[in-house]
Amino acid sequence: MRTLLTLLLLFAVSPAHAHKPSDSYLAIRAEGSDLSGQWDIALRDLDFAIGLDDSGDGDITWGEVRAHHADIAAYALARLKLRSKGADCPAHATEFLVDDHSDGAYSVMRFAATCPEEVTTLEISYSLFADLDPQHRGLLRLEHGAATRTAIFGPERATQSFELAKISALTQFVDYAREGVWHIWIGFDHILFLLSLLLPAVLVLEGGGWRAVSRFPPAFWEVFKIVTSFTVAHSITLSLAALGVISLPSRLVESAIATSVVLAALNNVFPVVHGRRWMVAFAFGLIHGFGFASVLRDLGLPQGALLIALVGFNLGVEVGQLAIVSAFLPVAYVLRASWFYRRLVFFGGSIAIAVVAGIWLVERAFNMKIISP
């Protein structure tokens, strides 16, 4: 009797889902008319669908996955339809990685899609593995501005629509300004460059030696000139780079920024340029602008609100800078005549900055890791 063999399983209803079932993790970020996403799909499932184990040994290797990147993209993206206002937003894969989830290795595919117009309602149709494993689910995480939504896709809920709240220009402006402040706060290379130029502002070079300034106004105007020219310079290159007019390789930019910090700090110990430090600030400020631009690029520039983002971010950087300067100047002015300031802060600090920036320079130029930036 054929039925007998499976009869047994009966009297104990199976321990349901002893394993994690098949899920994929789909993250999509909507910005203007652009969509960017990351899709994590279990290698086991992909193998079942399109065959990854070319060697037939039961193990899936990195090489086998890499050889199938195009197949994975074609198979998966054909089963994900993104639509806005009735028009398709065609998607293409941009990057492939591999990640471990709690139940094994997953292929991670990054993708980008462009809709004809700004997306207000995103319609997603998901049919991955629907024909092979109706128990499969797609777990969506949709981000738009600061809002995040989640949804579960399966054969019964294969198409779902999501209203995207309109992001106000003000919110966007404030968001980017906040990012600008944050970047200057954590961007030690910019802070150290500025400090190297500011340290001597409360001193004057006379007869080969440093002496404290006698009055506050000259120190203030010196700082004002340095900060203004640094700001003007980096605003110029930040804008040009963000708008795609000029583009420099990031390794070159990062190395040049480190060099600028070394030179600015060494100039305090072995004065070469003095009196016209604002010109140094301007020249090197041009390089720092490219550094800011790469951060802005990583944040993603909204196509519809490019100017808002650019101005917001730049203003954020200035606010952060101003906060540092206004904390520094009064203290430096009060302490300027002391041994503590002149020997320890000014000389010792400059040498320490030069050493740290020198290490950055080596790290960035040779792409190695000595200390964390």
């Binding site: 499976t6 047994l8 399983l9 193998d47 139940d103 494993d133 499969h136």
Partner: protein
Amino acid sequence: MLERLPVRPGDPVARELRQLRTDLAANPRDRETAIRLAERYFALASSEGDPRYVGYAQAALKPWWDLPAPPLDVLVVRAILKQYSHDFSGAMRDLEAATREDPNNARAWSWRAAIHMVQADYERAREDCSALQKLESELYAVGCMAYLDGTTGKAAAAHRVLSTAFARNADAPPEVKVWVLTRLAEMSLRQGEAKQAEAHFRAAYFEPINDQFLLAAYADFLLDQARPEEVIPLLVDWVKSDILLLRLALAEHALKAPKAREHIEALRSRFDAAALRGDKLHQQEEARFNLHLLGNKEKALALARENWKLQREPRDARILLEAALAMNEPAAAQEALDWLERSQHEDPVLRRSAEKLKSLRR
């Protein structure tokens, strides 16, 4: 190497499945092939514990899956797949239709009994087992009744009857032997016969097949016997199975083994993933995880109560009693106490927990 596939492409099992899939792809409405493929996948799901196989089985039955009245053979397989995902009412609808259409369908009757047992509906389970008496060979008919009696206060007699039938059917396939031996072990435990239970577990363990249920029950036995060190070699290769990983982590936790932390984290992320998916199939295990590994008694009790609404087997009652005891809330386990009363279930571990709960109330 990034991932090891559960079945090597060159395996006989894999070859057979591939052949069936190819045949079915050529003719998707070929019912016989579709059912054969679905059955093969369901067997894999039971031995490996991987729900993907149930999905693959469901896909094989696609032309018939949503039909209100599919052919008889599809009805039964569809019911079996539905119960795997705990769709008990859907499965029962199909099985009732199947036994109406063919009152001699032994398989449909036995699955009805199985589901009624999970729901603690012992009267209906008895009707199902009675229907089987006329239809099935001795071991199955006796097995059904003994399973029922062994759960409802007659463990000694049930053990006697089932052992006798088992001895007369030494040529039963290994799957059946494992099932009978696991049940015999449970009946022994209910009579407080740990040595005898262990002998049954070991005999089942040495049958040449894998069975998730046996491994879980055997590991629980060793944990109850305070022998966690023996659980580790038993389950070390089964970390992909959530229910077995739970037992492994419990053993490692008891031994203060360094792996415990890693496995607890793995379980946590799998329960999180299940929650993301909206699954409620793990609640019994999740309750045990919260109670014994995280010390989160409140969540454990909530999960155990939720679980009891769907599943009412002795192990579901046990976690509910234990969680209520930990929270000092005898009222929360009232339904499990009522069940113990009504079923006359004998397990001394459950009885002890119930006594403690009742004394709390006084």
